[in-house]
């Protein structure tokens, strides 16, 4: 065996002798070894618009990060409101520019901390919330004009949005000017993430209630952030991630229009949440293509007059599926590349999964490291100097055109299966996405899909990597239950009952439930009480689990 590397003879170019490895990206696009102007021309009509001009391929603002860098908004919340408030202040003191609140599973699924269903979950993966009192404590001392708050909640979103608005109102903020967002994308919860409560139709109705209510009462508040993110985590390709998210956003848009709202009254307040793991160029092209496609949908299909109605405003972040238990320090490096992807993609807001999150929710140290990763991009490596720095690359422009086609294909697939609401209710999308997840897992196990530290370069010096992990505080859960009991003893329970009766009656009559939810929230009704009132009318979702068949 010869050991020294051999140099190719000049008359025998390497490419001729060895076949070039075939590369197909996750969205199914064959990637060439070289791109030229001819590829751009062949891939579609070039979009010569400038950033800030429809259809916004290069960015929704003319100056993008030169005007204002992306908002840094790490997903944060644990134990109770008081502990979470301290963590918020720690992150703000370290330069974080937005908040993104994590709630525990009981709160997200509509159970109080003392419910049997909440066993073992109170304050575990996020902050426990039972009543408005928890919101008052969580945001105490935080200027809600200076820092915007994003609530990551879906099944119980109508209730938690009301809590946020009520809390801000009581602190003297003008709700008509209050900014902030809620995730409130229930359709994707049925596909991935799983914090649904009510059946599909009333769930979509509730989303429309929040859009309508906010358009009238809190027009600067973003009531919905449509998530391709979790659909991708669940197995979808990058193109499907964006295509399915657009189908979902259109379903909410249609529901809001059916209330008699004008498209320009609310479309500009819809925002999006996308994933950042995977091939860098494919993701950047996904964001550019997505911006262009969404702008066209809102302009051409819905006839919006205001260009900002078609802005694909997005948080691009996370990357959870890309992170590994194995060799966890590699996740620090992955996080840095993922942040680069989000910045090159023109995200308005960024959040990173922390290196310890393949294990559990992050420690303050890990969160600060993610924050520093984003700050490095702004302060040291020039990512905020120039708009859309990859624009004009033959490769990226070609891929952008091709990704747009793939996004349109994914949307057509959904339409061919009866539309997103039907496809979700029947589990068709869930089946498709989980088949892909299975294939992805097999590819990881066979080595067809390479994962550093997992199926290649997996020799590790230490058997058990010594990662400091966030501990779960069981005493905190007990304290939360105690303060809930105290609050129930203090509040006017007759008033609570009256507001819950109104809520039930409004839900029964098909009225917008938000005014009644607001009244119940202000009377310190609990998340569980309000959810049960709605369940009395709407019932629970029954998950379609009978569709299982073998992948061919």
């Amino acid at each position: 065996m010869s050991s020294a590397p051999t140099r190719e003879a000049p008359n025998k170019p390497r490419a001729v002798r060895e076949p070039v490895r075939r590369v197909v990206n996750e969205s199914g696009i064959e990637v060439k070894p070289l791109y030229t102007a001819e590829d751009v021309a062949a891939s579609g009509v070039p979009d010569l618009s400038r950033p800030g001009e429809s259809p916004f391929t290069r960015g929704i603002h003319p100056l993008m990060y030169r005007h204002r860098p992306f908002t840094m908004r790490q997903y944060t919340g644990f134990a109770n409101a008081a502990d979470t408030n301290q963590r918020f202040k720690y992150l703000i003191a370290n330069g974080q520019t937005g908040l993104n609140v994590a709630f525990d599973l009981a709160t997200q699924c509509g159970y109080d901390s003392d419910a049997p269903e909440a066993m073992g979950e109170v304050g575990r993966v996020g902050m426990a919330v039972d009543t408005l009192r928890d919101f008052e404590i969580a945001f105490d001392g935080i200027d809600l004009d200076a820092i915007t708050v994003s609530l990551t909640v879906n099944g119980s979103a109508a209730i938690l949005i009301a809590m946020y608005l009520a809390m801000a109102e009581r602190r003297g903020y003008d709700i008509a000017k209050l900014r902030g967002t809620a995730q409130n994308d229930i359709l994707k919860e049925f596909i991935g993430r799983g914090t649904w409560i009510f059946p599909v139709d009333p769930s979509v109705k509730l989303v429309a209630d929040t859009i309508e209510y906010c358009a009238k009462v809190a027009p600067k508040y973003g009531p919905v952030s449509v998530c391709g993110y979790h659909i991708r985590e669940s197995g979808a390709t990058p193109a499907e991630e964006m295509g399915y998210a657009f189908c979902i956003a259109k379903a909410y848009t249609d529901a809001a229009l059916a209330r008699g709202l004008d498209i320009d009254e609310f479309a500009g307040r819809l925002s999006f949440n996308f994933n950042i793991f995977g091939n860098l160029f494919e993701q950047v092209a996904k964001f550019r293509a997505g911006r262009r496609r969404w702008a066209k949908i809102i302009r051409d299909e819905y006839g919006a007059k205001n260009p900002s109605s078609g802005w694909l405003r997005m948080i691009a972040g996370g990357g959870g599926f890309g992170l590994t238990i194995e060799q966890p320090e590699n996740n620090i490096v992955r996080g840095a590349y993922y942040a680069l992807i989000a910045a090159l993609g023109g995200a308005q807001t960024m959040a990173l999964c922390c290196y310890d999150e393949a294990y559990t929710i992050p420690t303050p140290k890990a969160q600060r490291l993610s924050l520093r990763t984003m700050q490095l991009l702004i302060e040291e490596v020039g990512l905020t100097d120039t708009v859309d720095p990859l624009g004009g690359s033959y490769y990226v422009e070609t891929l952008t055109n091709q990704m747009e086609e793939k996004i349109v294909e994914a949307m057509k697939w959904v339409d061919d299966h009866g539309g997103i609401v039907k496809a979700v209710a029947e589990g068709v999308i869930q089946g498709r996405v989980s088949e892909y997840a299975y294939r992805r897992q097999r590819a990881l196990e066979t080595g067809a899909l390479r994962k550093v530290g997992v199926n290649c370069y997996n020799e590790s010096e230490e058997e058990n990597p010594n990662v400091e992990l966030h501990p779960y505080d069981e005493l905190g859960a007990i304290a939360q239950v105690q303060s809930l009991r105290l609050l129930k003893a203090e509040r006017d329970n007759d008033a609570v009952e009256r507001t819950l009766d109104t809520l039930r009656a409004d839900a029964n009559a098909g009225r917008n439930v938000m005014p009644a939810v607001m009244q119940a929230v202000k009377a310190y009704a609990t998340v569980g009480e309000m959810t049960r009132a709605l369940v009395d009318v709407y019932g629970y979702f029954r998950e379609p689990t009978r569709l299982w068949r073998k992948v061919a």
Partner: protein, 131 residues
């Protein structure tokens, strides 16, 4: 051992919504020729035990990624003993730290498969351990 097809109940107890892994395992078990019943999300321990009895399964598999595996597995262990399911093969997968794996084995969960486990290993473990 009889030639009856191995029957597995795969359940998601508690409020955890992470079901990618559970569904991947369902697929892998189906491919391996097992008869698989998947409960879907948000199952109470009582409902899981009832389903296991009704379907007369050989294997009861749990998937928990929220971190609440110890309290849930403890509660399920008690119920499974009460309902005479102690002779079935109990396995659990999910986000399970090193320190908790021995606790779960002591509770009677013979197979513990943390995040990153290979589906082939789960299949062979079941084949080798079903009585």
């Amino acid at each position: 051992m009889s030639q009856r097809q191995i029957r597995v109940l795969l359940a998601k107890p508690g409020l955890d919504g992470h079901d990618v892994g559970a569904k991947v395992v369902v697929q892998a078990l189906l491919q391996a020729g097992f008869d698989v019943i998947y409960t879907g999300l948000r199952q109470t321990p009582e409902a899981i035990v009832r389903a296991a009895r009704e379907a007369d399964v050989d294997v009861i598999g749990l998937s928990i990624l929220s971190g609440s595996h110890i309290p849930l597995c403890r509660r399920l262990r008690d119920l499974m003993f009460d309902q005479a399911l102690h002779d079935k093969l109990w396995i659990v997968g999910g986000n399970i730290p090193e320190a908790d794996r021995m606790v779960l084995k002591q509770l009677g969960y013979r197979g513990v498969f943390p995040t990153g486990s290979r589906t082939d290993d789960i299949v062979s473990f079941i084949r080798e351990n079903v009585r």
